[in-house]
Symmetry: C2
Subunit: 248 residues, 2 copies
DNA sequence: TGGCTCAAAGTTATATGATAATATATTGAA
DNA sequence: TTCAATATATTATCATATAACTTTGAGCCA
């Protein structure tokens, strides 16, 4: 192979490469990671650098290593899917509609939860951030801002407004999910999965301190997006099938 | 300091030590991580070992490093709180009722979501696992099984039954959360935060395929636990205040 | 012939020391 | 006073050597 990776930081580049190789199945249980010495040759790097990269990946649950047994890919259920890097690798290189549906299903639970909390605890600055995101979305509809960025900003603002560290932790996750959701579906429809008006309902409820209304509005918002995604997936699955049968 | 750490694996032990030191605030933005050379002296280890440990921690978002700038602790919002190690360090060494409330708030959204999904997609084996966990809880009430383990087994079984990788990913998170929830509250009450009967309602709804009923039952279950935890926290806060004022 | 013990080999773990890259601070000049 | 160049401290990378630890297999004994 001899894939000399270059970037500002060799260790991170190699960790990235191997990480991607793992999630795309280049390395797997059936096709195990080569031993250190061979990896050094493949990536043309010294052993310490390679070991540091491998340690980063073991910290993310992708790899395991033991003396004499070598280095191996962990079973998929040990991967830290909520780690932004791991999720990024998975989406960037091995995107699948199933994955998109799975994390939209998760957003369907998480974001209403965050919105409910936000309505009871958000302070003035956090509410201002939410309002500002809505204004940006409206501006985007007039062509004065980026539709994707403003949409993401809104969801991130709500997560932060929950004043719950675990929800706040999911901002990276949600940004990524949203970016890919839209990238996948905007070929068929406008760039939004839901209207600005629907987003504004959520914002208004949070700012008014109406907890259950905020949660419910957010739930409807994501439910709508999820159904749209499921429908598109069903359609393209049908298309794939008819394309295959058409060849016969 | 010279804290020679010994264990079967030096690198992991050191990563653990430093990880705990970070989350407990021994190292912080104000009191930065010493330079590599000093860390080597403190932990009596070679530079490669130390660098590998540091790389594991940067992979978990706890540290950052740049040439000439040294190694520093990342702001807390960059920590991967959903990483099982990070969460474990935080709970094991710096437990706080606030943290307990925060992740119970998150469970309040996540687990009903998982239960809802599970009701529509769980297969026979997954339903059997849920039933089995309920049986174990009943056995525990008769003294024939462990109350804590059986309780955890139930929640884990539901998450897995959702057939959603992101929910499944949260099993470690939930086990930890539950273990600490109970450890914190069982001094005051029986070991359960909610009755076996309430758990069984969730299980029955999932097995019957009643999605919204399953979600709602699970929501009630955790809502109950959350209120109990909040009440206990308010009480002990009062106790702390009166103890302090009593001393004056 | 089967099982147990022990030894050897292969692989990761740890150590040492040296060189390169880089960002910051300092110093000097404009 | 400001900007640029240079010095310096720190991480990044490299090369190599030794240790520790399983796994495997061979040999021996029952």
């Amino acid at each position: 192979m001899n894939t000399r990776v270059r970037g500002q930081n060799l260790t991170y580049s190699i960790a990235n490469h191997i990480g991607i190789a793992i999630v795309t199945g280049v390395y797997s249980a059936g096709n195990p990671i080569p031993i250190e010495a061979e990896l050094c040759r493949e990536y043309d790097a010294s052993r310490p650098v390679l070991r540091e990269a491998v340690k980063m990946l073991t910290a993310k649950g992708l790899l395991g290593a033991r003396p004499r047994r070598g280095t191996w890919v962990q079973p998929e259920d040990k991967w830290n899917l909520l780690d932004p890097d791991v999720l990024g690798w998975l989406l960037e290189r091995k995107f699948s509609p199933t994955l998109l549906i799975e994390f939209t299903e998760m957003r369907l639970a998480v974001e209403p939860g965050a919105a409910t909390l936000a309505a009871s605890v958000a302070g003035p600055e956090e509410k201002a951030a939410i309002s500002h995101a809505i204004e940006r979305m409206q501006a985007a509809d007039r062509g004065d801002d980026d539709p994707l960025d403003s949409d993401i900003a809104f969801h991130v603002a709500v997560l932060r407004a929950s004043r719950n560290r675990f929800y706040a932790q999911l901002t990276g996750f949600t940004s990524t999910a949203l970016r890919f959701s839209i990238r996948m579906t905007n070929r068929y429809k406008g760039v939004r999965l839901a209207s600005v008006a629907d987003h504004k309902k959520v914002a208004d409820a949070i700012i008014a301190g109406k907890a259950s209304a905020a949660g419910e509005a957010m739930r409807r918002l994501i439910q709508e997006a999820l159904e749209l995604i499921r429908k598109r997936e069903a359609q393209s699955a049908t298309r794939r099938v008819s394309a295959v049968s058409g060849h016969r």
